[in-house]
């Protein structure tokens, strides 16, 4: 395929990583950093922050697949992130209420809102098995249905972007109106996570390990999808949907799979996010957070495998570091960072390596054509 998005250029580095040995080396290095180095050098608080950022990175891997490989500008991943997060939060609130008040107890925030009877849809979330199943199935199923409805009608480009963003806005507004889901304040004050006390630093560290493991797993799945025939087909749909259709494939189905995978990743990220951060509210899942998810991917390089992960981590880290250094002026610094990266590295940070290569050697005709 001659058309390559910026960020997916071949460099010696990426060529090595594409070999079997390279892949294992890459995963081993990532595992070493995440499981060995980070817990050693970071304080408990910083490790917790990193765990939170890893959740954003998990969402980013999904966006990289749907947008970078599939060309679907998913401006509304907050919806799926929020679904996963709220489903998990409902279970944690139920478990806390059961543990402290016995069966029949109502989560604390409901008593404040004047709700004395447990709403029927809350009851199943007392079961951890049901909750985990719901987190894996509900957002994915929703994405499949939505994807079928949208892609079968060949809605794409800016129309799809607007639609997905509107969905995120509507979802946040819907939640604000639901007093039985905490309304504007959302759900917070969780004590236990599947029977473990969240206040214990050892358990907080374990949550970090879970987030890191999920990230590696999600990257592995994404890698397998990219290297498969399906992955080739997805890129083909991105670059020339009509031609793929002409060859006899149903382009909509191809897109739905990537969209659903991105939704699943986001939902799992949301579910892991909740016990780590300790709160989920409509403010974390609406239009602005959805754009922030996308921004990290754009900064990192949407078409590469690691670019979205790096971008999500860099954006989140920059936000925290800048706001700690300049509490009243950090938003300007952050804006400047975005402008610089997008102006100088349109392919994201992942294209930086290719950029140096371009300076060293004359572009080959193929690359020049791209």
């Amino acid at each position: 395929m001659s058309t390559r998005l910026p960020g997916s250029e071949r460099t010696p580095m990426t060529r090595f990583l594409d070999t079997r040995l390279g892949t294992w080396t890459g995963f081993a290095a990532a595992a070493l950093v995440l499981f060995g180095l980070a817990p050693l050098v970071l304080s408990g608080f910083r490790l917790g922050l990193l765990a939170q950022f890893l959740c954003y990175a998990i969402v980013a891997v999904g966006i990289g697949l749907a947008w970078g490989r599939g060309g679907m500008l998913t401006l509304g991943q907050g919806v799926f992130f929020g679904m996963g997060a709220y489903l998990m939060a409902m279970h944690l609130k139920m478990a806390d209420a059961r543990f402290e008040g016995g069966p029949g107890a109502v989560p604390d925030f409901m008593e404040l809102a004047g709700i004395r009877e447990l709403p029927a849809y809350w009851a199943p979330f007392a079961s951890p098995v049901f909750t985990v199943a719901a987190i894996l199935v509900l957002p994915t199923a929703f994405a499949v249905l939505l994807g079928l409805a949208v892609f079968k009608r060949r809605v794409k480009g800016a129309y799809f972007a607007i639609l997905s963003q509107a969905l995120a806005g509507a979802f946040a507004i819907l939640l604000i109106g639901q007093q039985s889901l905490g309304g504007f304040n959302g759900l917070s004050r969780f004590r236990y996570f599947f029977g473990f006390t969240l206040a214990d630093p050892a358990n907080q560290r374990m949550l970090y390990f879970i987030a890191a493991a999920v990230l590696l797993a999600v990257v592995a799945v994404s890698l397998q999808l990219r290297r498969s025939r399906y992955g080739e087909l997805l890129v083909a749909v991105r670059d020339a949907e009509e031609r793929v259709r002409f060859l006899g494939y149903d382009a909509a189905n191809v897109k739905v799979v990537a969209y659903a995978a991105a939704a699943l990743f986001a939902a799992v990220a949301g579910a892991v996010f909740v016990p780590i951060v300790g709160i989920i509210s409509p403010a974390s899942i609406g239009i602005v957070p959805s754009i922030m998810f996308l921004l990290g991917v754009a900064i990192g390089g949407r078409a590469s495998l690691v670019g979205p992960v790096v971008g999500a981590l860099v954006v989140a880290w920059a936000q925290t570091a800048l706001s700690e250094q300049f509490p009243s002026a950090w938003t300007y610094a952050q804006g400047l960072l975005f402008i610089l990266v997008i102006a100088l590295l349109p392919g994201g940070l992942a294209s930086a390596a290719a950029l140096t290569k371009r300076f060293r050697t004359k572009p080959t005709p193929v690359e020049a054509a791209a």
Binding site: E111, L112, I176, L233, E324, W330
Partner: protein, 422 residues
């Protein structure tokens, strides 16, 4: 016929392997289980040096920045005063500033950073209920102290939070008493859709039922909504004796403009607001809101030596055009209350401050406030203010004495159904 879908062959293996990895890690958890005693993180507060750090956590960006930056200024003023007077326990106080960015998750993150990385003795800040609810578990889990300076919906009492703004029996109930005394027999309720207005209106409904007041309507708008023509017309046609307004933020601007637009005035249908202070009057436009009522515990125009000194010092520090408002005063007072408690305890340690808190008082701009050691709230004088043409609020009624805080409304029979057992 369409091609068969090319499902990746190795995908299943990758999925199984990653599921196994995650499961393995999850079961390897070694921390405390539910019900077991947990070892809370040790406080890293170091008082051996010449300075002690405190945190100031307010939104300096986002929608709440306009209100919360004023609170930051008040906190800084109070700390500067403490330092000029020789510090607390002979130590200079250093502020570590953080931006809550109007986001509950950021408030939680920064609170944890202040406690665990900066080792602050206490944190001052927070505004929205959402920000407080997000920070509460952080302060409880790390056993640290938050001083929260804004009036709120009550029904909460944490060992780790000192509430220096009014709870409902120091603001909403006096406002209702005032309306009832001045002859209001019917009310219309307008509020933003979040926990404070909903709780306030639950209290108002219970009060109204017990006192023979009719509630003619109850409307909520999304936070930040500026579309009020329908609601204001409903208010107008309902013809209530007064409107009780629990809107927050920008919505007030649109509401009062529309209110004046349809010809409603303070004389024929007064609006009692609980979130409009000196800062907000300018934004709404004084011509739209002149003569309307507000319920707070402090106004810039209070006539007392302590308040004159506070207003003068604030203007000297930040400019003559600045105004002082209730949350700013409460934040300023909270810093002094913390300092007084530390002096009484003779220690900066959280447990010592908690133990010494009961009965600690400070002669603040609003009058003398005393900490209630049981519920960590403070006594406050309720004041009804009228917005005048100069954009300031003037007291038209005040409670004869400071009111004891009663966050769970245990002293009110009609509120029995509302309050939640702790």
């Amino acid at each position: 016929m369409p091609h068969r879908f090319p499902l990746p062959a190795r995908l299943a293996r990758a999925l199984a392997a990653s599921a196994a990895l995650t499961g393995l890690l999850a079961t390897a958890a070694c921390g405390a289980r539910a019900g077991e005693e947990t070892v809370a993180a040790e406080s890293c507060l170091d008082t051996s040096g010449d300075t002690v750090k405190v945190g100031a956590l307010n939104s300096l960006s986002g929608t709440m920045a306009i209100s919360e930056t004023t609170v930051r200024d008040a906190i800084r003023l109070a700390v500067d005063e403490l330092n000029a007077a020789g510090g607390v326990q002979g130590k200079q106080i250093e502020i570590v500033a953080e931006d809550g960015a109007s986001e509950p998750t950021v408030f939680a993150e920064k609170a944890e950073k202040l406690i665990r990385e900066d080792c602050v003795a206490a944190v001052f800040g927070g505004w929205t209920s959402a920000s407080r609810k997000a920070m509460l578990p952080v302060f409880e889990d790390n056993d640290s102290l938050l001083y929260y300076p804004v009036q709120y919906e009550g029904l909460e009492a944490s060992e780790n939070i000192f509430y220096t703004g009014a709870t409902t029996n120091q603001q909403i109930i006096p406002a209702l008493d005032y309306l009832a005394e001045t002859g209001a027999e019917s009310l219309y309720l307008v509020g933003s859709d979040y926990v404070f207005p909903r709780t306030a209106n639950a209290i108002i409904n219970a009060y109204a039922e017990a006192h023979g007041i009719e509630v003619l309507g109850e409307d909520y708008v999304t936070l930040g909504s500026t579309e009020f023509s329908t609601i204001v017309n409903q208010v107008k046609s309902a013809g209530a004796d007064a409107v009780f307004n629990t809107l927050n933020g920008d919505s007030n601007v649109a509401f009062f403009r529309e209110y004046a637009n349809v010809g409603l005035t303070a004389a024929d249908m007064p609006v009692m607001s609980v979130s409009i202070a000196e800062e907000e009057v300018g934004g709404i436009g004084v011509e739209n809101i002149e003569g309307q009522l507000a319920a707070w515990n402090y106004y810039q125009t209070l006539d007392s030596p302590a308040n004159s000194a506070f207003v003068e010092a604030f203007k000297a520090a930040y400019g003559a055009d600045r105004v002082t408002s209730d949350p700013m005063e409460a934040a300023y007072t909270s810093v002094h209350l913390w300092a007084a408690t530390v002096e009484k305890a003779g220690s900066f340690a959280v447990a010592d401050v908690q133990a010494a808190a009961d009965g600690v008082s400070f002669d603040g701009p609003e009058g003398t406030v005393v900490i209630d050691g049981d519920n960590h709230h403070v006594t406050k004088t309720a004041r009804i203010g009228e917005i005048s043409a100069d954009g300031l609020l003037y007291t038209v009624w005040e409670s004869p004495a400071p009111i004891e805080p009663d966050p769970f409304l245990e002293g009110y029979d009609w509120a029995a159904d509302l309050s939640v057992t702790e």
